[in-house]
């Protein structure tokens, strides 16, 4: 592991006073769009191989190999291919994509262009959540700059190469579920954001039933530097199975909340105390592990490594998710915290699957009454029973939102059992051993395998 200086955020100063929006000319003056020129000289298969060799895994939550995903797109082009960039970022605790878009939008555009060359995409839609008004305007402005300077051109193609690519911003309208990749596609097509049953997978029939790549903002931002410096360099950062730099969103009870870039595999302790300036208002108690859907890391888990594996196998969480950590001090009420999470899911469930729609609703009602001091005997048992019935893992739902509900509930209750038991004094349930993910499933991606 060797991370010496920021690479993804090299154009964004750590000092907030010095940060500004990197314009087209600033971007080009600091080596921007050079990698796009290099990629234009490469065959699509070579770009895909380079990205696959780098071991870059998706930064949107599921950690699926980016190069492998691109390789599923038909090589022989028979029809329009689409790239949809996932900038829906609505997972509580996650604010990294907004940070990089607001400061260095051209890095995303360069990543989009290179990905489109590799997968022969004709149109790229940046799907951005409706609440990101400012960021949407930043992106539209950056796209205009890129067209004005011939990076994109409807007549001449990318940098005059004849390879056509149109880039558009598509704004969502306030629904977390549109971050799920097929919910996103439905919203793009002008429908309600109901996730689709898979197969068919988006690589074969995605947006408008055409082959479609879906990648997170941060994933694509890694691509130019991989083209520049190569897979071996990329792998000097991070761990063997989780290479590269990562944006960590640190929020909650820390002295210096914000987005920090470091390498994958740093410990939670390091993230809190070295990056985010240490605890505020009291000693460390718990931390959400990468967005609330991943679950919570407990008081004695500061040594867990923040990469795609350790948080699962040793941390007992669903995964690293978006690496948005919500850090909580000793004065935080875990029952209230879980209630907040479950309220989120019951509010955001799209309503298609009964276990998710009804389950989260009932769980919320139960948690509401526990918070109100009216926890009944049996409430904890009921919560833990409900939690096991919902999600892609038990195979009862279409998408992974319900797995998030389940893992948040499971990890909060198992790691802070005493606190929950105190709130429901008559409950007969004994302390349950922590459920550790087997790692057999990769819940958030329909491609369905993990890359270990």
């Amino acid at each position: 592991m060797a991370f010496t200086e920021p690479v993804l955020t090299k154009r964004i100063p750590l000092d907030p006073e010095k940060r500004k929006l990197v314009s087209y000319s600033d971007y080009v003056a600091t080596g921007g769009y050079e990698q796009l020129k290099k990629a234009l000289e490469m065959a699509p298969a070579d770009i895909i191989k380079t990205v696959t060799d780098s071991g870059l895994r998706g930064r949107g939550g599921a950690g699926f190999s980016a190069g492998q995903k691109w390789s599923f797109i038909p090589k022989e082009k028979k029809t329009t291919h689409y790239l949809t960039v996932n900038a829906d970022e609505s997972e509580p605790g996650t604010f990294k994509d907004r940070y990089v878009i607001n400061h260095d939008p051209h890095l995303l555009l360069e990543g989009i262009a290179i990905c489109s060359l590799a997968t022969q995409c004709d149109v790229a839609y940046i799907f951005i959540r409706g609440e990101y008004h400012y960021s949407a305007k930043v992106l539209e402005h950056a796209i205009k700059e890129a067209y004005d300077h011939g990076i994109f051109s409807s007549e001449k193609g990318i940098l005059g190469s004849g390879k056509k690519l149109e880039v558009y911003v598509h704004r969502g309208a306030g629904a977390y579920i549109c971050g799920e990749e097929t919910g996103l596609l439905e919203a793009l097509e002008g429908k309600r954001g109901w996730p689709r049953n898979k197969p068919p997978f988006p690589a074969i029939a995605g947006a408008f039933a055409k082959p479609t790549v879906i990648n997170n903002v941060e994933t694509l931002m890694n691509v130019p530097m991989i083209i520049e410096k190569g897979p071996a360099w990329f792998k000097t950062m991070g761990t063997p199975s989780s290479p590269g730099p990562k944006l960590f969103g640190m929020s909650g009870h820390v002295n210096k909340p914000g987005v920090y870039e470091d390498e994958l595999g740093i410990t939670l302790d390091y993230a809190i105390n070295k990056l985010a300036g240490g605890m505020k208002g009291g000693a460390y108690k718990a931390s959400i592990c990468g967005g609330i859907s991943m679950g919570v890391l407990g008081t004695n888990q500061l040594d867990v490594k923040l990469d795609f594996d350790d948080v699962r196998f040793r941390g007992g969480c669903l995964g690293l998710g978006t690496a948005g950590m919500i850090v909580m001090n000793e004065h935080t009420d875990m029952v209230r915290a879980l209630r907040n999470c479950v309220r989120f899911y019951s509010h955001e469930s799209c309503g298609q699957c009964t276990p998710c729609r009804e389950g989260s609703h009932w769980m919320r009602k139960i948690l509401d009454r526990i918070v109100d001091g009216e926890g009944k005997a049996g409430d904890l048992t009921m919560l833990m029973e409900l939690e096991k019935t919902m999600g892609i893992m038990p195979g009862t739902t279409i998408c992974g939102l319900a797995d998030g509900t389940a893992w948040a509930t499971r990890t909060f209750i198992s790691k802070f059992y005493d606190e929950f038991a105190r709130a429901c004094p008559d409950d007969p349930v004994k302390r349950v051993p922590l459920t550790i993910s087997t790692g057999r499933f990769n819940v958030l991606t329909p491609m369905g395998s993990n890359t270990r």
Binding site: S90, G93, T94, K191, F208, S251, G252, P257, H347
Partner: protein
């Protein structure tokens, strides 16, 4: 829908998508930006314009929280209620706004100037607690600042600009 709105959609959005229905979200955004909500008549007109059934347009419009199918105040005060903001005392913002405006969450003041809602995570947890006023985000808000924030809002919401946007451009 005015002719100007139709022309705008035709020129800017129709070329972007292979289907007219895909223009539905942009069209609804435009209607709401113009009229501050989406009246039933607009649903009908948008549907006709995009050659889909009104029921389909309504189905989509009603799914998304950002679309208001009933009138709201000139200023929509949207306080984040998700986990980071909750543990960083975001509830105090809601409380203070309720007290000051004498309304509950979800209600509009009698003069139709403010509507107060709570939203889920606004993607700005690093500067919790946060609130969105129409299209502008306020970060690290303390209850004491609310008075000033509200008093500074111009009478016409179309004059309410985000000072960080220093270039021309719109997302509608």
């Amino acid at each position: 829908m005015t002719d100007a709105m139709k022309k705008h959609l035709e020129e800017k959005y129709f070329p972007r998508y292979p289907s007219k229905r895909a223009v539905l979200l942009p069209a609804l955004h435009l209607v709401q930006h113009t009229y501050n909500w989406i009246p039933p008549q607009a649903i009908e007109e948008v549907a006709n314009f995009l050659e889909i059934a009104p029921a389909e347009a309504l189905d989509t419009a009603s799914f998304y929280e950002e679309y208001w199918l009933k009138p709201k105040g000139k200023y929509l005060l949207q306080v984040c209620r998700s986990l980071t903001c909750e543990i960083c005392q975001g509830e105090k913002l809601t409380q203070k706004l309720c007290d000051k405006l004498k309304i509950e969450v979800g209600e509009t003041t009698a003069d139709k100037r403010y509507t107060l809602v709570e939203l889920e995570c606004l993607g700005a947890c690093g500067s919790a607690p946060v609130m969105l006023v129409n299209e502008r985000l306020y970060e690290n808000v303390s209850p004491d600042q609310l008075e000033d924030i509200i008093n500074a809002l111009p009478d016409d919401p179309h004059d309410f600009k985000d000072p960080d946007i220093t270039w021309e451009g719109s997302s509608h």
